[in-house]
């Protein structure tokens, strides 16, 4: 195929389309992580925008947070304090980890906006837990209504269908890239995915479908070169890190990231009504370590490695991230027992130590190559 048309995705990463939706009279609501029921935010008439962190020097946020929470949250707050998220009407967040929960309050106090809400998520999946989650989501619906939103069964059905289509389309992009029909570097592929978090979903679906169709129509194949690896962690927001992995001799063929596969896989849930389907999807999705035991994650990870043909796993973890750091030793052990080597690297606010990452990756690739 001709070079994939990336411009709309790169434009969207600047959050311009999301800002435009607000300047046209709409409202946008921010969220931190993928356990936030964005389908409901959208069904109530708002544009959900995932708040990003990235790499930056933290100064203003230093006066509001301790320096031992994840870089994602600190940099995101820094950006908000600099006014970058002024177009948001507030934050809605699912209670995944302690830091995400705590940050919602800090934003409310220091950034302002009309809606702030943390959805308490149950840790277990049981009939009682699902009943409770339904009640929690109804509470969210009431909050969204109070902020001027209006959600009905009909609008929720439409939003579930829209996000379901997005996820299916992105899963097809994963497959096309795997088969060589979508010749994108790992860094560019994750730019495409990341745009999905900050673009109004109707627009993103069109962009993703166009990319899929362009790729599907071609007979040419160009599979990624390099030693196939899977990257695992929470947020990898800086595509340059993926580029370093590939420059050092790897080819990122799969991921277990909440900025990637964990959000886009498992397109829809099952159930008699839209709320039940929403709950079912959140319960059955590939879990984050903050939401489940490592025993549940290991089979998913091993399956992803085996299906993608990855020869090793590179853990790219946010520094100070308790759920991921606590699971890491047992994941390493489980992978090792199955003959899958892994490498661990932490990401900090000021970025990564590029030279060190490159050297360690090169050694890793020499061993597994």
């Amino acid at each position: 195929m001709n070079s994939p048309h990336l411009a709309p995705f790169l434009d969207a990463l600047s959050m311009e389309p999301a800002r435009n939706s607000v300047s046209k009279g709409g409202k946008a609501i921010g969220y931190f992580c993928t356990y936030t029921p964005v389908e409901m935010i959208h069904a109530a008439g708002f544009t959900p925008v995932r708040v990003g962190g990235g790499i930056a020097a933290v100064t203003a946020a230093d006066a509001l947070t301790p320096n031992f929470i994840c870089p994602f949250m600190r940099v995101a707050l820094e950006r908000a304090l600099a006014g970058e998220y002024r177009f948001l009407s507030g934050i809605v967040q699912g209670y995944t980890c302690d830091v995400a929960c705590g940050l919602v309050h800090i934003w409310e106090e220091n950034i302002g906006g009309e809606i702030y809400h943390t959805v308490p998520l149950p840790y277990n999946d049981s009939p009682a837990a699902r009943d409770f989650l339904r009640a929690s989501l109804q509470e969210l619906a009431a909050k969204l209504k109070a902020a001027g939103g209006c959600m009905s069964d009909g609008s929720l059905n439409r939003s579930l269908a829209l996000y379901g289509k997005i996820r299916k389309t992105v899963m097809e992009l994963y497959e096309l890239r795997q088969s060589g029909k979508l010749p994108l570097s790992g860094a560019d592929f994750y730019r495409v995915l990341q745009a999905g978090f900050v673009t109004p979903p109707e627009d993103y679906l069109v962009m993703a479908e166009r990319l899929r169709d362009q790729a599907a129509d071609t007979d040419e194949t160009d599979t990624p070169r390099g030693i196939p690896i899977l990257i695992s962690g929470s947020l990898v927001e800086v595509p340059e890190i993926v580029a370093i992995c590939e420059d050092a001799g790897g080819a990122v063929v799969a991921d277990d990231l909440c900025t990637g596969y964990r959000w886009f896989s498992h397109p829809e849930g099952e159930g008699h009504d839209p709320m039940e389907r929403l709950i079912d999807r959140y319960m059955k999705r590939i879990p984050c370590p903050s939401r489940t035991r490592a025993e549940e994650r290991i089979p998913c990870l091993v399956e992803l490695v085996s299906r993608s043909g990855a020869r090793g796993v590179v853990f790219l973890l946010q520094k100070f991230c308790t759920p991921h750091l606590a699971d890491h030793p047992v994941l390493v052990k489980a992978l090792k027992e199955r003959g899958i080597p892994s490498l661990f690297f932490e990401m900090e606010e000021t970025g990564i130590m590029e030279g060190q990452l490159r050297t360690r990756l090169e050694s890793f690739f020499q061993v597994i190559g």
Partner: protein, 415 residues
Amino acid sequence: MTESAAGRDKRKFASAKKMRDIMTSYYIEAKSAKETGKKVAWITSGGPVEPLIAMDIIPVYPENHGAMIGASKMGGNLCEKAGEMGYSDDLCSYARADIACSLVNGGPIGGLPAPDMLICCNNICGTVLKWYEIQARYYKVPLFIFDTPFCHTGYGDEVKRYVRRQIDEYIAFLEESSGKKFDHDRMMEVGKYSVEAQVLWQSVLDTAMTKPSPMTCFDAFFFLALIVTLRGMEVTVDFYRGLLEEMRERVKEGIGAVPRERYRLLWDNLPIWYRIKWLSDIFTAHEACLVADTYTSAWCGQLKYMDEGRFLDSMAEGYTRVYLNIGVDEMIKSVLEMVDKYGVDGFVMHSNRSCKPYSLGQYDIRRAVQEKRGIPSVIIESHMVDDRSFSESQAETRIDAFMEILRESKGKRGA
């Protein structure tokens, strides 16, 4: 001016030996469980222990053990061992010390008795979930997760139903794990002792409202052990009754915990277990008494929700609405109440790298206390059990500067 030996003796607590004896017997019993055929359950510090006591299952608290490890200055070595096992230094040092201790049977009592089951209540943090999962894998024992949803401000019907249903599941889990039937009459009795002990513990802490205060928060950190580990037992009620008498006696005789108490301070967050005496000496030298803290009051702060007549129902609410499971606005309210109640002049905040949920809202709380009560504060940083990165000089410099500000501001107010 150095205090005389007689003065120091006067300030010693007779109850301290009694508590050490009770804790020693408790740990001996727990460590002999295999021989006596009793079951051992490990449980989180904020977990509902009363059903265990009612079932005659011995509750063991890795967090209490973590505190002992820290106080014995053995945390650094164990945390280093945890690092070798792959656990990052950025994780909670209670968890790291405990995980390493399981492997090497280290620490001041040669490790905890192996559990037959694990009870994890996530009302205090998300870390305990991962920690207990790690231990469930290591010991190959069943884990019960008591899931208490975060309460922003209130306690709605849905939360109530969800948590209450889990109490029934918890009891069924205990029946299955212990092979014994749950005795509701015994539960009522345990519930009564639990509430009584909490009332007494609150009364003990309340004696610090007196000027001079008969106790410091460092004393509370010590006397806390029983209300954490053995609430619901008669021995605990008896102990706190005795401790309260001793405190009241000190109040009557005007014995202050700090000689020449001039400043009254509030402590926030868990203790820095390996520097308790050091901190106590520094503040004493400044004639400052840490009269109260947000930590030890967690084991009686829910009394307003407790009803011994319907213990299991009220317990569901009490355990869900603990200090660390409520919104920061609620925390601020609670801190301001303590400032007023204990006549506090300054606020000492421990920014605890081991406890993110406790430390994250501190900047907002600090600002609110400053704005609403006009009292200064200081932040001291540590990992509560892992002493390897603690900087004495940095902490001391900060405390000295803070006390300087306090002296000036109190001088201006004409105190």
